[in-house]
Amino acid sequence: MAHSYQDLLAQAREEVPEIQVPDLAARLDGADAPLVVDVREQSEWDEGHVPGAVHVPRGFLESRIGGVARPDQEVVLMCAGGNRSLLAGTTLRAMGYGNITSLAGGFTRWKQSGNAVQVPRTLTPDQRARYSRHVLIPEIGEEGQLKLLDSRVLLIGAGGLGSPAALYLAAAGVGTIGLVDDDVVDVSNLQRQVIHSTERVGMLKGESAREAIAALNPDVAVDVHATRIDRDNVLELMSQYDVVVDGADNFPTRYLLSDASLMTRTPLVHASILRFEGHASVFLPYEGPCYRCLFPEPPPPDLAPACGEAGVLGVLCGVMGTVQATEAIKVLLGAGDTLAGRLLVYDALGMTFTELKVRRDPECPACGPGARLEFRDYDAWCAGVGRHVAVGA
């Protein structure tokens, strides 16, 4: 037997209770506010919506509701006039959502009653096309993508780790990328530093990276800092950014960055590489351990060869640099569990990923409760001056 639209609507009205606009408005101010899910189309949502509401177009309701609401959660569905939301309610009930109501009169009545309306900042049509695969992910969505576009990430080094990290952060639409590197592209870099190219050998790495990023994503602004990071410039540089990605090639810089990240309270995404092995972690100042909780002292130079001396598998940089880009994006979005409190050890020869627990050291001279944090002479300290005698190798 065929059912008309009116039949379906009448049936839905029997199944799904309605909530009136004044009741919803009052409840949204309270502690037990229900989740408001707006099932209208994108263009309707863009013209304004109930503050705090979540947008799930009705066509995607079944596939996306799991990402925004639990079956036992109280959900108020709404549309423009209150009919589509009733029909959506029958769908959610069939999916086992037990506490569903529909906003009577929908957004039209909400607005007519003089309630607050939020007009969202939106992606441009070009951006919506470019970032469509991000927007589809519930943890990112349009809101998350806008957050990335507003974000600023500082990369220390446009080399092995910085190259893949910068490319993926740029592709992801991180709005501003700062690159600190005073080096020029050398032909021996190209085995792993994929942001550069043969024709740009001899060019400043920051400028070479800027060209690659501009070709990939014109949305991204690139700040080139053609300098070595040191005690005199680190605080000013770091405080301009939301996250710092550490791709430094030496211990003095790594300890300097760790201390400066505490001073400026800037999250630090760490990775280091040698031959076939990579380490990665995230240091969230005063929330998780810092680099000095993990490694209180640097090893002596003979136990700490640089890649220029000991070599590094080119593609290892790709793995670890993209781990850093992933973690930077998660920190920016506040999504998922970062590597804070964990050290990821990747052994490319064995193709194993090992996770080690890293805890805050209550005695940490940098982030411990009694610590008096100040810059030191990192070069002398890492060279072992006044710290330990050189050990024979």
Partner: protein, 94 residues
């Protein structure tokens, strides 16, 4: 016999292998077993006073041995002891 994972910087001292099976019931015994097999490792990990250098982290499975019972931490047959000095490499220009 527990498995000891050797970091890249120490591999030359142990003949290039990534892992070794080493006897011993505690971290201390396992490290001594390692030094007995490859004496040059000792000079890289241990101070002249006989202490492990502060820049060397030792993990038993995924836990920092310093937060367990340090050198007395028991090590069983199925455990992995991981020696982990910090690595600096990142952008290395040339």
């Amino acid at each position: 016999m527990s498995t000891v994972r050797i970091p890249p910087v120490l591999r030359q001292a142990v003949g290039g292998v990534r892992e070794l099976e080493v006897p011993g019931g505690t971290v201390s015994e396992v490290l001594e077993g390692l030094y007995a097999m490859h004496p040059s490792v000792r000079s890289q990990l241990v101070t002249p006073e006989g202490e492990l250098h502060r820049f060397v982290n030792v993990y038993v499975n995924d836990e920092d041995a310093r937060l367990l019972s340090w050198l007395d931490t028991p090590v069983g047959d199925r455990d992995t002891v991981l020696i982990l000095p910090a690595m600096a490499g990142g952008s290395a220009g040339t």
